[in-house]
């Protein structure tokens, strides 16, 4: 027998076995309807759970991307200061983050897929449950034993199959969400412990970052000094030295520097 047929037979027989059958056919309908409502609320919870996991992964991606952007900035700054070694270190760390980010994005796509699948399953089940409810009332109203039994069997097998399918979809989504959560938890721990973002955190205990920091401050000081002296850039130390005294005076009174230097220029011109 073909694979399709074997799977069909087995799945259907399991779905039918799973449905409650009462002595009184009308009770069977009510039992089944109750089970359908339970499953419907379960699938709704499933959708919400997957959405929560997806948002968590989104948040982590954002955090890691911020860290990566910081590292990129540090690499650029290092190069400006001719510290290729530091730039290399920053880029190495950034590339490790990029792997994590790519992984997370794959998982995000999977979670999104599960969420869409479950949402559709919920809509299908909702429609079938509604249809079953109507059918149930009709069957009850026109109840004569033999005829009712046939119509009940029809309604039950269709809904049973759908319930088995939705149950499977929920179970698979739960499995995937559990895997993601374990992984997301591990990344949260890494972020919390600083292992991932230490490299980019300001004033972290990390030597290279501290060095980069202190060099950045030095460069900032030089740049500021140069600006105070009315010159464009720190790359022209001769020019800075050649600048007249106002630089020192200005450094003592930063608030007034603009006015003073302007008036100084005015005086010179």
């Amino acid at each position: 027998m073909s694979l399709m047929k074997r799977i069909s037979l087995i799945f259907r027989s399991k779905a039918n076995k799973a449905l409650d059958r009462a002595e009184d056919p009308r009770e069977t309908l009510d039992y089944s309807y109750q089970r359908q409502l339970d499953l419907l609320s379960k699938v709704r919870r499933g959708v919400a759970d997957v959405a929560t996991s997806r948002k968590r992964v989104e948040l982590q991606v954002t955090q890691l991307e911020q860290s990566a952007a910081k590292l990129q900035g540090q690499a650029e700054k290092s190069l400006q200061m001719n510290r290729e070694d530091l730039a290399r270190e920053a880029l190495t760390r950034k590339s490790a983050l990029a792997t994590q980010i790519a992984d997370l994005k794959t998982q995000h796509a999977q979670l999104l897929g599960e969420e869409e699948k479950l949402t559709l399953a919920q809509q299908r089940l909702q429609a079938k449950v509604e249809s079953f409810r109507t059918r149930k009332e009709t069957i009850k109203a026109t109840y004569t034993a033999a005829e009712a039994q046939t119509r009940i069997n029809e309604a039950m097998s269709g809904i049973g199959e759908e319930m088995g399918d939705v149950g499977l979809a929920i179970q698979r989504a739960e499995d995937k969400t559990a895997q993601m959560q374990a992984r997301a938890g591990a990344i949260d721990e890494l972020i919390a412990s600083g292992a991932l973002d230490d490299a980019s955190a300001i004033n972290s205990g990390d030597d290279i970052t501290r060095e980069l920091e202190s060099m950045s401050s030095q460069a900032d000081v030089e740049a500021e000094l140069a600006r105070l002296k009315g010159l464009s850039a720190p790359e022209q130390p001769e020019a800075i030295e050649a600048a007249p005294d106002p630089g020192e005076i200005l450094a003592g009174e930063p608030e007034k520097q603009e006015t003073v230097s302007d008036s100084g220029k005015d005086g010179q011109s």
């Binding site: 399709m4 047929k5 799977i7 069909s8 087995i10 399953a121 429609a127 199959e161």
Partner: protein, 92 residues
């Protein structure tokens, strides 16, 4: 005929499309027997795509039973074997 792809829903598939689907089914079965995960994945994707392409979505509010039920698109060989073994159809 109504074909269900598990976790995806039911499709109405015209009878004339069945020959092609049966071929794909045979390929899938061979892959399961051989335990060849790569050709299993290809064959399953081809079979499910065949159903999606040849079929149209069956109305969501119908309570009709499917004539055929297919594994979900992300199923592994292991999971398909489990689906088959549960009922003891395959001895051992």
């Amino acid at each position: 005929m109504i074909i269900r792809i598990l976790t995806e829903g039911q499709y109405d598939v015209a009878d004339h499309a069945l020959d092609r689907l049966n071929e794909l089914d045979a390929t899938l079965e061979a892959a399961v027997e051989a335990g060849d995960e790569a050709s299993f994945a290809t064959a399953l994707a081809a079979l499910l795509d065949g159903v999606r392409t040849a079929g149209v979505a069956h109305p969501a509010d119908s309570l009709d039973e499917s004539d055929l039920i297919l594994p979900p698109s992300d199923a592994t060989i292991e999971q398909v074997r489990e689906m088959l073994n549960d009922d003891g159809l395959i001895p051992g």
